[in-house]
């Protein structure tokens, strides 16, 4: 739906107070976020890249896991909306002194933030914070569970290039087992009507992969063949406490996106990666830096999508003629 086609005096809204996952969002809610992000993206091209929308609102970025891209993206989004922001990394917080997550959040809540953006290594941590606090909570990645804003920015990028998501063949290749990006993307792409093919070593395919509505294979050529979109996922070696594959060189030979394999996709296919990339492990540099790569566009779009999420969660008030 284009901006021109939106209802003129209408209001559309998210049903929930939080964004904890793609699971539970309707197709209409997802499209609302994408349409709003479409309008937000223009702000990045202005001389003054700032609007007063969240003036006087406080957003706390609470990151219990290392993050550069997502945390920075949220911070830029918050500043562009004129929110007051506070970023807390656990390495320099009271967590290292033994404070629990609940106590950390209750103490922050006592300072009356409006929104908490949270990343945590435990699945469900954002849900816990949403239950105990008063603030709106945005899940910026929880364990092996979900990373909703990444999936939304991926969908936004696909829609920008392809015009629609319904009916596209999307190949997702890589460490599916440890990937919250995969889970959020699988749910979102299925909700919007894409045909999702996934590929990973058998040891990195999540159990009951079929419940995501995807077609699984262990042959990358099969997944990529005729794809409109090829989404590569990082090998998350920091989460691997066992031997999932012999070594990274062998992984690249079997599952890496080489220029030859990329040619199996449609001629106008786009190549995506949520970052950070392991060049030469899951993706060849020639492909990552090639003409079909939209990896840096994903980063730029992340700011617009996060602005949209923050606006839609924190906004309020009925439209009135003035």
């Amino acid at each position: 739906m284009t901006a021109e086609a939106l209802p003129v005096a209408g209001t559309r809204s998210l049903r929930g107070r939080h964004l904890l996952g793609i699971q539970g969002l309707t197709q209409e809610e997802i499209l609302l976020i994408l349409d709003t992000a479409d309008a937000m993206k223009e702000i990045a091209s202005r001389p003054i890249k700032k609007v007063p929308t969240l003036r006087g609102r406080t957003v706390v970025n609470l990151f219990f896991e290392p993050s550069t891209r997502t945390r920075t993206s949220f911070e830029v989004a918050e500043k562009r909306l004129s929110a007051d922001t506070l970023s807390i990394a656990t390495a320099v917080s009271s967590v290292v002194k033994g404070e629990t997550l609940v106590d950390t959040v209750l103490n922050l809540e006592a300072m009356s933030p409006d929104i908490i953006v949270m990343r945590h290594s435990s699945s469900g941590a954002a849900h816990l914070v949403a239950r105990i606090g008063r603030s709106h909570v945005v899940n910026a990645g929880d364990g092996l569970h979900e990373h909703p804003t990444q999936a939304l920015l991926d969908a936004f990028t696909i829609r920008e290039h392809k015009g629609t998501i319904a009916g596209l063949k999307v190949a997702i290749v890589g460490d599916l087992f440890h990937s919250r990006v995969f889970r959020s993307n699988a749910i979102l792409l299925d909700t919007l009507g894409a045909e999702v093919h996934v590929c990973a070593p058998a040891t990195l395919l999540p159990p009951a992969i079929g419940r995501f509505g995807v077609r699984a294979t262990t042959r990358i050529e099969e997944a990529v063949d005729g794809a409109d979109v090829v989404m590569m996922l990082r090998i998350q070696q920091e989460r691997m406490h066992g031997h999932f594959f012999p070594n990274t060189r062998e992984y690249f030979e079997e599952f890496g996106l080489t220029p030859e394999r990329a040619k199996l996709a449609k001629a106008d296919a786009i190549i995506m990666h949520p970052g950070p990339m392991n060049r030469g492990v899951e993706i060849a540099s020639e492909v990552a830096d090639g003409p079909y790569s939209v990896i840096l566009e994903q980063v730029a779009n992340g700011v617009a999508v996060r602005m949209a999420v923050l606006y839609l969660l924190a906004g309020g008030g009925e439209e009135q003629a003035a």
Binding site: T11, T36, E42, I48, G316, G317, Q320, A322
Partner: protein, 180 residues
């Protein structure tokens, strides 16, 4: 629901405003029209066409969404949000004489938001305000430079502007018993 302007009247009014703009304009290359979404945009485009037919000058036209600049947006903790639409100003506003165009001038808060939004795009030489209808009840010190019709109303009434591009027909009507 009395119709106070029919399609013919709307058309004649927009042509009259275009004539007024042409009469007061010396440097057409400095002029630009910016419509406030939603209905200010088709009005701005029609004015540009009228000016072109009168004076033979093509005037660049943009669209401004002021949702993110509204001062009432965050006054309620929860509730449906106004839909954000794209702002599209495909020219530099620096040193231009901008004609800001809206359908109805009421409290003045939309115009205030539009001025804030516009100034974030650059430094125009001047900004003038064009409205199809001025219904009064200002809450801010804002006055239009070009007015299609002054329409005295009570706060309990609502002025509805319908345009063919958005609503399928041109008319201005007054609706009664609006909760204030």
């Amino acid at each position: 629901m009395p119709i106070v302007m029919d399609a013919e009247r709307v058309g004649r009014t927009l042509m009259r405003i275009a004539h007024e703009i042409v009469e007061r304009t010396r440097a057409f290359d400095e002029l630009a029209l910016v419509g406030v979404r939603a209905r200010g945009v088709p009005i701005a485009r029609r004015l540009a066409q009228n000016i072109a037919s009168i004076a033979g000058h093509e005037i660049p036209t943009g669209a401004l969404d002021i949702t993110l600049y509204r001062d009432d947006l965050m006054r309620q903790p929860v509730g449906p949000q106004p839909v954000v639409r794209k702002t599209e100003i495909p020219f530099s506003i620096d040193d231009r004489r901008i004609l800001l165009v809206d359908d109805v001038l009421y409290t003045g808060r939309t115009v205030r938001a539009a001025l804030d939004a516009l100034i974030d795009f650059g430094r125009p030489r001047s900004i003038q305000l064009v409205v199809l209808v001025d219904r009064g009840h200002r809450e801010l010190p804002i006055k239009a430079d070009y007015v299609g019709k002054n329409l005295p109303t009570s706060p309990r009434q609502s002025v509805q502007v319908r345009l063919a591009e958005v609503d399928g027909r041109d008319e201005v009507s007054i609706e009664e018993e609006v909760a204030v």
